[in-house]
Amino acid sequence: MSHIELPSYLSQSGDVKDRFDRMKKRPVTLQVKNLNKEFNSAQGKVTALKDISFETYKREFVCVIGPSGCGKSTLIRILAGLETPTSGQVLLDGNQVDGPSQERGMVFQGYTLFPWLTIKRNVMFGLEMAGHSRAGSEEQAYQWIDLVGLSKFADAYPHQLSGGMKQRVAIARALANQPRILLMDEPFGALDAQTRAKMQSYIHEIWKNIDVTILFITHDLDEAIYLADRILVLKAHPGEVNEVIEVPVPQPRSAEDLLSPEFLATKKRLEELIHPPEDDVAISEDHLNMVRMVRVDDDVESVF
């Protein structure tokens, strides 16, 4: 990458800048204020999250990225209400978050479909919990299943589906409740590269057409840049906000954008943030102690 002269990741074209200006005028959906989370472990108190503050705007796509141990999973679990913060506040549309609720839908990395329910009944689950009638939820469920392109599998059981299909059902199931925000915890982490790429364009397609804000955790830099309006970069030990990056790649995006200068510039910045230069020193210090272990008379003298 160093061979090509890249623009600054901060420079935005007129259209992009314009779009961000308009986005920031939208109402705030999720507001996180001075969030702290401490765990008691055998080694004493561990600070997982320290003074995290950010907000998301209506229908924004935010990715959260950071090195392992930066507490991204803890953050999303707090937002979902599955864990309670040590201090700080999470507000959704101005209301304090207290415990899990269907207005904050969640998609987990492990598909978490209910194996005893058909695809249709899985999608109906949240609707029935919300008190919809059986017939009403069934009708709505069909629409959501259709949206993720799985109508043929409505009566199949989860174990009959591939990983990508299961995750589409999980997305449909979360969306069926029409949540204000969709929390996604490395949802494509367990998928192969090809399925993953397909799922990324699926989720973009869904996001474009549905009134939902998405907060998406990933450890894949390309995925984050491809999907996000803004990227929340965390650093580890303790988990703190490092930078919030406004992705300068214009929307709507396609696979070609992966090679655009804006994309590469953003990726370079992310790499600097997530693998800072001092890490390279650490790696060279514990450089592998390599000895040539090939027989002298081996046919292949060198692999180059």
Binding site: A80, G81, L82, G99, P100, S101, Q102, R104, G105, M106, F108, G110, T112, F114, P115, W116, L117, F125, G126, M129, A130, Y157, P158, H159, A170, R173, A174, N177, L183
Partner: protein
């Protein structure tokens, strides 16, 4: 097909091989039993007297230790008296397979020898009732308690410590107490089956409940499921297949308490039949009765397994159970 393929670690045999080997698992013990019974030079520690000769205390058809017989033969030869004759035989407590098969057949067809005695199938029916009543009573209370203990830490801490203690107390130890409280007929027997099953059941069920993937519960909560709907719509359906397997296992457990239970108070059911037949040394009948218990147990389990496969169609691996 290489022989070593039969012993590949962690690999499934193909269908034909599996059936063959499963059949072998029954054929092998029967083969050993037949060898012991029908091949005169294998074991056969007794001699059945066919001709008493001049030995005073020998009687026609009597079973006598081989050493004694041999000694008497030697003595007879030395004293040039008439030599006793006999053929190798097994002790009375090991009837040959065909004798047991005949006994099995006659047990169901022949009238009981005494008027107040029950037919075998009547005794069996008594036993089956005792087992199922004990097991169902235990399950009615044990399964809900187990699920509660597995779901809520409160109930786990409330029930399990005492149950952990109680399950070490052998059920038969409560026999005398059960008779004193519940009389001498079926009630104390059912109570013993209950005590033998219940405490294990609560612990097994609570353990199974705890093994439910916590992510499923969390997913349900983010979909709006709360308290009771979590319990009834997620926990119970989530564990039902494992619960069913547990109950099949525990039913087998209940059978093991049957004999002890039926000895309490007035002896009844299949146990009464067995002890009665053993008293008259009709060991072929005893074997027949024991085999029937095995057949009933195995058949029930096979039926339940087949039912489970029908009921839990979402389970892809019920077949393995």
């Amino acid at each position: 097909m290489k022989l070593s393929n039969l012993f590949a670690v962690g690999k499934k045999l193909d269908t034909n091989q599996r059936i063959t080997v499963s059949v072998l698992s029954f054929v092998l013990p029967i083969l050993i039993w037949s060898l012991l019974s029908y091949v005169p030079f294998i074991w056969h520690p007794k001699v059945e007297i066919s001709h008493t000769g001049d030995v005073v205390y020998f009687k026609q058809g009597m079973l006598i230790d081989r050493e004694i017989f041999d000694k008497e033969v030697e003595t007879a030869i030395a004293a040039s008296k008439e030599i006793p004759q006999g053929r190798p035989a097994n002790p009375i407590y090991l009837p040959a397979p065909h004798e047991v098969v005949i006994a099995l057949y006659t047990a169901f067809t022949a009238e009981p020898q005494r008027r107040n005695e029950k037919w075998l199938h009547e005794s069996l029916w008594d036993s089956i009732q005792v087992i199922f009543l004990g097991f169902i009573l235990s399950s009615l209370i044990g399964v809900p308690l187990g699920i509660l203990a597995g779901t809520y830490d409160f109930f786990s801490k409330l029930f399990e410590p005492f149950i952990e203690f109680f399950r070490y107390l052998p059920a038969p130890a409560f026999g005398a107490l059960a008779v004193a409280v519940l009389g001498i007929y079926d009630a104390p027997k059912i109570a013993i089956i209950f005590i033998g099953t219940f405490f294990q059941q609560v612990l097994v069920v609570s353990n199974t409940t705890r093994k439910l993937d916590p992510l499923l519960l969390e997913a349900a909560m983010t979909l709006g499921a709360k308290k009771l709907s979590l319990l009834f719509r997620v926990v119970i359906p989530g564990i039902i297949t494992h619960l069913y397997k547990d109950l099949r296992l525990l039913l087998g457990w209940a059978w093991t308490y049957l004999i002890v239970a039926e000895l309490i108070g007035t002896s009844s059911g299949i146990t009464w039949f067995i002890t009665q037949q053993a008293r008259y040394k009709n060991f072929d009948n005893v074997f027949a009765a024991i085999i029937i218990i095995g057949i009933i147990g195995l058949t029930t389990d096979l039926i339940l397994a087949a039912l489970g496969k029908k009921m839990f169609i979402w389970e892809k691996d019920t077949a393995k159970a």
